[in-house]
């Protein structure tokens, strides 16, 4: 018994973190959905969900309950156990990917020394969930959606991988935490060094998460809901969860690789230390807003609820502020790191939403052509460019900014050329099959 505990001791903290993530993730996902609906409503000049809870704050929970209570339908002569397996695969892949991500200097399940490779590999396994699900449900819509998504993912994984490789070149390590530390040490986020790589990864990640404008696998207008046409209830919820998990994963990856992970802006500039107050102030502001809105609520319950929310925010603010006043046992780095990290991830996801509500959907051949004719070449050229820049910097002693400026401009020129030729190709290809 004792040696068993001894055996497990080093693994206790990771297990805790894992439990936290598994517990909190669905909640976060649900609220991301709520946020998305609100943003959509805002962009479409309406209110969005308002009924359940003040400003629909309880909507996600209601949805979750509804989904859990729904009847679980398995279509006739579907391949039962694959049908059952597929959603699990998706979710598992997403969550496994989370396991190697550093949400803060301390908050990380396992800092693998091949962390990035691990994450990429695992998230690439998420495809199987989609494909098998689409195939198993024995419906043409689903199968088409599955085929589309697999083709799409395979195509865009290359571009994303290349983008990440260019960041890797800068970092010189695969371990996520170390990558962040490298950025801290170098005092610059890689997005500023390799903007093209960041852009490439942004586009590719949107495509990988099957979100608009690349949401062909689940294009309502073409195939009812793509690979999850036949799914309903809990399994469907799993797919949904998987999708949002993936969004969080890619957001986190982007954050770690390009946006300096848990670092606050300009971590090394002590002149800007007042940034440390931002988290607390922000939470206080939220609390204040809730208090201000509270009297306007129609029902007393909602008034009370809003007040409670305000209190919660105030509590968080206090916790965030505590380290600044030297309260023991609360490390500033950990708390603020988590805050900044989540902030960046949510900003990234916000960009997703923004694009989703802004752009129309691609045609499939356009999608493929964008992937193969533009993104992949550009990303490859970009990798070469960054390599060249590093050589110029290290071997020939150019100034860093000069080297990267030169290569970036060169890559941009290539990209422009590619875009132009692709335009011509496009006009030539009109009507041709993709």
């Amino acid at each position: 018994m004792r040696e068993l505990i001894e055996f497990f001791r080093p693994h206790l903290l990771p297990l805790l973190y894992a439990l936290v993530i598994v517990a909190v993730l669905p909640l976060i996902a649900g609220y991301v959905v709520l946020v998305e609906r609100k943003v959509m409503a805002d962009m479409q000049a309406r209110l969005g969900p308002m009924r359940v809870g003040p400003h629909g704050l309880l909507q996600p929970i209601a949805d979750a309950v509804k989904l859990l209570l729904k009847e679980d339908i398995i279509p006739e002569n579907a391949d039962v156990w694959i049908f059952w397996l597929a959603p699990l695969l998706s979710v598992t892949a997403g969550m496994l990917a989370l396991s190697a991500l550093p949400f803060g200097p301390a908050f990380q399940i396992a800092d693998l020394n091949i962390g990035l490779l691990f994450i990429v590999g695992i998230s690439s396994m998420g495809i199987f969930g989609i494909v098998l699900g689409g195939w198993a449900s024995n419906s043409h819509y689903s199968l088409l959606g599955a085929l589309r998504s697999s083709a799409q993912l395979v195509s865009y994984e290359t571009a994303a991988g290349m983008a990440l490789v260019s960041a890797l070149l800068l970092a010189g390590t695969l371990s996520m935490a170390t990558i962040v530390r490298v950025q801290e040490h170098k005092g610059v986020w890689f997005v500023f060094v390799a903007p093209i790589a960041f852009f490439t990864y942004l586009v590719a990640s949107i495509a990988e998460t099957n979100r608009a404008p690349f949401d062909l696998p689940e294009a309502e207008s073409e195939l009812v809901a793509g690979y999850m046409t036949e799914y309903s209830g809990f399994r469907w919820a799993l797919y949904f969860l998987a999708e949002y998990t993936n969004m969080i994963v890619v957001g986190s990856i982007a954050t770690v690789m390009f946006l300096g992970g848990w670092l606050r802006p300009f971590p090394n500039v002590h002149a800007l230390d007042f940034f440390d107050y931002v988290p607390a102030v922000l939470m206080l502001a939220v609390a204040g807003y809730c208090l201000w809105r509270a009297p306007k609520q129609p029902v007393t319950v909602q008034k009370l609820f809003l007040v409670a929310v305000a209190g919660l925010c105030a509590l968080v603010a206090a916790i965030l502020a505590a380290p600044l006043f030297g309260v023991p046992y609360l490390s500033k780095a950990a708390l603020h790191g988590g805050f900044w990290f989540l902030l960046k991830v949510f900003l990234y996801i916000y960009v997703f939403m923004w694009l989703r509500f802004t752009f129309p959907r691609y045609r499939f051949d356009q999608l493929m052509r964008l992937g193969w004719h533009f993104l992949i070449p550009v990303s490859i050229v970009n990798v070469m460019g960054i390599g060249v820049a590093l050589v110029l910097h290290r071997q020939f002693g150019w100034a860093k900014w000069l080297a990267f400026l030169v290569t970036t401009v060169g890559t941009l020129a290539v990209a422009g050329y590619l875009a132009a030729t692709d335009e011509r190709h496009e006009t030539a290809m009109v009507g041709g099959d993709a």
């Binding site: 055996f7 391949d79 694959i82 397996l85 693998l112 020394n113 091949i114 490779l117 691990f118 990429v120 590999g121 695992i122 690439s124 396994m125 495809i127 199987f128 494909v131 098998l132 195939w135 199968l143 599955a146 085929l147 697999s150 083709a151 993912l153 395979v154 994984e157 695969l174």
Partner: protein, 166 residues
């Protein structure tokens, strides 16, 4: 202790799913079991502290090749294939011969015990990825390039063959 558990678990998983791969009637099931087999192999790699190979195994095999396989399976998906005979005429003979082969190989392993039973000693293979990288790009530069050319050729060949009008 944990080592042994991991190894035997993954080994059993690998063998089991391998058997299922060759015996399933439905191609998709075979593919899934192949995936599990590959993942098990990956686990064994990890257990051998070959993290880089583990990652590569997952990314390339599971994330790349198997996706290709499933893609193709769905392209050539034939319901009739499910109702056809799955094993060809030479099955029995093949079984016997292969088992004989296995027996011979096993015999070879037994005879080689003097060498073979040496325990895998924890080699100085850390950090794995850097080591692989250096060896690959210093000692094995030429084979690496050749391999890349092979990939290029394979890609072109696949494209040409998959074209509608050859």
């Amino acid at each position: 202790m944990l080592d042994k558990v991991v190894f035997y678990f993954f080994a059993g998983l690998a063998v089991l799913s391998a058997i299922l791969v060759v015996t399933r009637r439905n191609v998709v099931h075979s593919a899934i079991f192949l995936i599990t087999a590959l993942l098990a192999t990956a686990g064994i790699f990890l257990q051998l502290h070959a993290e880089f190979l583990f990652a590569v195994q997952i990314i390339l095999y599971v994330g790349g090749i198997m996706v290709l396989f499933i893609f193709v399976i769905m392209l050539v998906n034939l319901d009739v294939a499910l109702h056809q005979v799955q094993f060809n005429r030479q099955t029995l003979l093949a079984l016997l011969l292969t088992l004989a082969l296995a027996a011979q190989l096993g015999l070879g392993l037994r005879l080689g015990r003097s060498v073979m039973f040496a325990p895998a000693r924890p080699g100085p293979l850390e950090p794995n990825t850097e080591l692989v990288g250096r060896t690959l790009f210093q000692n094995y530069m030429l084979p690496f390039e050749i391999a890349s050319i092979l990939l290029l050729v394979a890609m072109i060949g696949a494209v040409v063959m998959a074209k509608k009008k050859v």
